[in-house]
């Protein structure tokens, strides 16, 4: 595939080092910014993004252009005063590593995307919220921000346009909840990362109570390309089976031959990703199921592999595209153990704010632990399913617990025999085999 078909990753250096500002400019970097500042109004940039049918790559798939359009521009309290744009680089969804790749390889692309987002929404201050473990990304971004200031892509009166943007890097200190956009804003304010109510949405009252746009790194990285090449070009990048535009960085981890991430047209099938790009299962391992887009999506089985990986199609087969990075379960891994690992993560990362998540997930972990250890009871299975049903969107304060319920409900449903076998045989069949 040519670089034009892989706008996000096509220009990466072969040695895996980040593109410097000169290199980035040589690939056409900052042209979009120049063009926007010179030729386009903020509304024009916003319209182009709307037109491109770019949908958020943070997992929920919310159309980016319409998200931006909720930033108030009238004359009320929120319209006057500072506004913010924040890149969500928390990337703590298990199985997900795409944003890291983008930041480590081409940090300027993110900066330019944020510049365009800021220009479109009237923001004058930007934060890049990077998870605490991403030292590589932070180094690359820190350097790139300094370079961009050096060339007046950032700072006051950018390129003589009168447009200003300050940009700061924030290194986090752990907690999955920081990735949830309102938890992120609390964390950015130096508080505990508990989520906030919506409404008011961050676009109205976000960072420091001011209008704030929070976008995923991959989402923002698409924006320079959209502005440079046009919405129509962008829409054409996808396989065109759904309304979604552009490419997507898909990934695969687990016992596949070549775990990794690949930029592919939106709508590529799961099977193609698994078999062609990830090279299929490792020798000696059979495919049992996968989580299509990070830990907080429903399991899919062999029979679902031909699903097109776009937001709507994956939904139709009962899961979500999420972050588009799939996690593969093989036949030599215990599905109860995997479930326990998943739920331990969610229980531990719960912020402790709302009851169902704080208490329910820890109960789920106790039950899964008991089953895995051979101390399970048959009623536990129904209790697990009940918990998965109760941890539904709207029942909890934010989407963390419902995210946990997705692999829980589907996992118990699809692998019920394995759960029952643990309970009947009073031990984990996989552990015996392995030891």
């Amino acid at each position: 595939m040519s670089n034009a078909e892989r706008p996000l990753t096509g220009d990466f250096r072969a040695d895996g080092r980040p593109l410097g500002i000169g290199e980035y400019e040589k690939t056409g970097g900052y042209l979009a910014l120049r063009r926007a500042l010179k030729e386009m109004s903020p509304a024009g940039v916003m319209d182009e993004v709307k037109d491109s049918r770019l949908r958020g790559r943070g997992g929920a798939g919310f159309p980016t252009g319409s998200k931006w359009s909720f930033v108030p521009s009238g004359a009320d309290v929120f319209s006057s005063g500072p506004k913010f744009i924040v890149a969500n680089a928390d990337e703590m969804e298990p199985g997900t590593f795409k944003d890291r790749i983008l930041m480590e390889n081409n940090p300027h692309m993110l900066i330019e995307g944020m510049l365009l987002g800021a220009y479109a929404t009237g923001a004058d201050c930007a934060y890049i919220f990077v998870r605490g473990e991403y030292f590589g990304s932070a180094r690359a971004i820190g350097k790139a921000v300094a370079e961009a200031y050096g060339k007046n892509y950032l700072g006051k009166n950018i390129l003589g346009s009168g447009f200003n943007l300050e940009m700061h890097l924030h290194m986090s200190a752990g907690r999955y909840m920081c990735g949830e956009e309102t938890g992120l804003l609390n964390s950015l304010e130096g508080k505990r990362a508990i989520p906030r109510t919506k409404p008011p949405y961050p676009q109205v009252s976000g960072f420091m109570g001011r209008p704030t746009v929070v976008n995923n790194v991959e989402t923002l990285c698409n924006v320079p390309h959209i502005i440079r090449n046009g919405a129509e070009w962008f829409r054409g990048l996808s396989r065109g089976f759904s309304g979604d535009g552009g490419t997507k960085i898909y990934g695969a981890s687990g016992r596949v031959k070549r775990p990794g991430a690949w930029e592919l047209p939106i709508g590529t099938t799961a099977r193609e990703i698994l078999e062609e790009h990830a090279g299929g299962m490792r020798d000696g391992f059979r495919f049992r199921g996968l989580l299509p887009g990070g830990a907080s999506t429903e399991f899919l089985l062999e029979e679902h592999l031909d699903v097109r990986m776009d937001f709507d199609s994956v939904q139709k087969v009962g899961s979500r595209m999420g972050t588009g990075t799939m996690i593969i379960l093989d036949d030599r891994t215990c599905p109860v153990g995997m479930q326990l690992s998943l739920q331990k993560f969610f229980a531990r990362e719960s912020c402790g704010w709302c009851t169902p998540c704080r208490e329910g997930l820890s109960w789920v972990v106790h039950m899964l632990g008991a089953i895995e250890e051979g101390q399970g009871e048959m009623e536990d299975i129904d209790l697990l399913l009940e918990q998965a049903r109760l941890l539904a969107p709207g029942h909890t304060f934010c989407a963390l617990a419902p995210g946990a319920a997705e692999p829980l409900g589907s996992g118990v449903k699809y692998f019920r025999q394995d759960f029952e076998r643990h309970i009947r045989e009073k031990h984990c069949p996989w552990k015996i085999k392995n030891s």
Binding site: E133, S172, S253, K344, R348
Partner: protein, 155 residues
């Protein structure tokens, strides 16, 4: 007492925020980088410096797993226990590390060299199973013995 070097770094960190309190997470991490962990005394000193009470600062500090409020060893090993690593041999790796270091999760070796902590997905799932020692990620630790060599390079 916060050291001059710590204060310099903290002041630099605070520039990104319009209110001193907002920089508290970064400031905690700076102090931790200098001292390994946040003692009660460091917490009080830093709180005072940021115009917070110790209670306010600790409320934030104890929320975040990468802020250590208990003593840790010279090197902290974060063992990813999330799903991608689990699926490719996390348990064997953890087992091996515990045997090799003779400590359990949450513990520090007798010589104060390593502390072993569980960690959420480190974002390097393509090279699972993975661990992180201080600021370095080490992936592809299958079979687990691969880790032995790595440990040797941390004194």
């Amino acid at each position: 007492m916060l050291s001059g070097a710590e204060l310099n770094e903290i002041e630099k960190e605070l520039r990104a925020y319009s209110d001193r309190k907002m920089g508290c997470i970064g400031a905690l991490k700076i102090v931790q980088r200098h001292r390994g962990w946040i003692t009660d005394e460091a917490l009080r000193d830093l709180a005072g410096y940021l115009e917070m009470t110790p209670d306010e600062l600790d409320s934030v500090a104890t929320f975040y797993p990468l802020v250590f409020r208990r003593q840790v060893g010279r090197h902290v090993i974060l063992v990813c226990d999330s799903v991608s690593c689990y699926n490719v041999g996390y348990e064997e790796l953890l087992w091996h590390l515990m045997k090799r270091l003779a400590i359990g999760l949450g513990q520090t070796t007798a010589d104060g060299r390593f502390t072993l902590l569980p960690a959420a997905c480190l974002g390097v799932c393509e090279s699972a199973p993975a661990i992180m020692i201080d600021a370095d990620v080490h992936g592809g630790l299958e079979p687990p013995e691969k880790v032995d060599q790595i440990l040797n390079s941390y004194e």
